[in-house]
Subunit: 299 residues, 2 copies
């Protein structure tokens, strides 16, 4: 058999799970792709679209003979999913490789340790840094992960062969796969994604409740539109992420707030030099980021 | 003579002044457009591009026979410009109409009152809500103001004919012209523009100085790119604006911070309900804003 693996089971066929299935299908990375979930409509749609071969609403049935199980449910549900899934697998490392796509890794590690007494060697936590404003299997795309990054957070005891298999799976989608430790992952994501979402939500909510809110939104310009775009993200998903990554998010928020209070003091005391120094430093960092991103996004 | 006015003098021929000149030229709103500034190269370029008819480096010479004078210099320089300009004009209201394009109005009103003892009846403060990441006369565009808003902040004693003339001038560029009082203008702009810039600068600076900054910028995704785009804005201009609109900006920042601290407490105490309520409210406000903006931007 020329294929790398026989059977990949995707738990939760939404945007991410659906896109992964489309990509694995298109490259022939595996022979069978099986779906599992609570919403039969999505799974049936997956078969119609020829993204998956078949599905089951029964978890034990779905994971039978799996080589790889991908937990592609939303972040907060992912921990519960692991609590359900891990007890069904053999404890001797002979079972399938398990990975996930959640935005927070520490809470999943904790769930896995709680339920099995230690990190299973076959469990490789991962996070594709990709998404879309749309959701659901109909929004899934074969190229969603192309030129995007996927972070894997293997533990010291994780089976290297399991890590290698998950790495190859993501590499087959066109993603760049990188290792990081769990805490670094959660700090980096808190700073670059979770905190900005909280700031955008806080700003829009503050403005909407202000006494000039009608005028405020009426006269907002393009910069405001970009700045607040992420406040249109799914509230349930971001509530889940904020709670799942609570500690790292609070640390990041406090670090930001210290900087904001320093800037506030400089504005209050009309300290032109301090303002100019901070704004200049920030612009340089942002311009560097923009140019490195532009390079990355280039074909 | 069929033209509305003979002579418009533009003080400062950059992006905004140059774009206004191009538009006035294209519609024949006035007969002569005269430029004044410190940088002769920009003014010469304006003549080359046929945006202005002529220029002078001497302010008194430039404003001779003017019907309208537009102060199109940067925000912080605009106050100094008024201090120079107003003493040159007749005090009896027989002189030209004066207007400006600065982002902050209170500091200009204060400068005018300081130098003349009261708001001159011929002075109509204004602010076109338009811009570009580029600057300078070469970046100017004939349609920069089309379907954008221009806010005028007339005072009780402002000559209604002067307000009407400035309104017609901006309307001729395709802009929607709206009146607002000075304090409301400065509060609205603080909330929708000046505060978001300060937040973006503070966030990028905090991240750049954090101990995982390399990773942070390396793994930032699309949401972060949008959120921090305004941190690439001109530091000198934004230092000036932050200082010129100090009080309204501090008030807006404190209002934001109160909301952020409420959210922080909800995250800290894992109050899922409070997080969901705030995020949901903010998303609804942002979605409303996005759809009203989309309508406005439609041709």
């Amino acid at each position: 058999m020329s294929r790398a693996h026989d059977r990949i089971v995707i738990l939760g066929l939404g945007l991410i799970g659906g896109s992964l299935a489309r990509s694995l299908r298109s490259t022939g990375f595996c022979q069978d792709i099986i779906g599992w979930g609570h919403r039969e409509a999505s799974l049936r749609r997956g078969v119609e679209l020829d993204i998956i071969d078949s599905y089951s609403l029964n978890l034990e049935e779905a994971i039978a003979d799996a080589d790889v199980i991908v937990v592609a449910t939303p972040t907060l549900v992912a921990a519960d999913m692991l609590r359900q899934l891990l007890p069904l697998l053999p404890r001797d490392g002979s079972g399938p490789v398990v990975t996930d796509v959640a935005s927070v890794k520490g809470s999943l590690r904790q769930a896995a340790i709680e339920v099995t007494g230690g990190m299973p060697a076959q469990l490789v936590l991962g996070h594709p840094i990709a998404g879309s404003e749309r959701s659901g299997v109909d929004a899934s795309a074969v190229d969603l992960f192309q030129r995007h990054r996927v972070i894997l957070t293997p533990e010291p005891d994780t089976d290297p062969a399991a890590v290698e298999l998950v790495r190859r799976m993501w590499a087959s989608t066109g993603a760049e796969v990188i290792d990081m430790d769990v805490n670094t992952h959660d700090s980096v994501l808190a700073a670059t994604s979770h905190l900005p979402h909280v700031l955008a939500y806080a700003l829009v909510d503050a403005l909407a409740q202000s006494d000039v809110s009608e005028n405020i939104f009426r006269f907002a310009a393009g910069g405001f539109r970009d700045f607040t775009r992420i406040a249109s993200s799914d509230p349930v998903m971001w509530k889940d992420i904020a709670l799942a990554n609570r500690e790292a998010l609070l640390a990041s928020l406090d670090e930001f707030n210290a900087h904001l209070m320093t800037l506030r003091a400089a504005i209050d005391s009309a300290d032109a030099e301090a303002l100019l120094a901070t704004f200049t430093r920030a612009k340089a960092a942002r311009d560097d980021f923009a140019s490195s991103t532009a390079e990355r996004d280039a074909p």
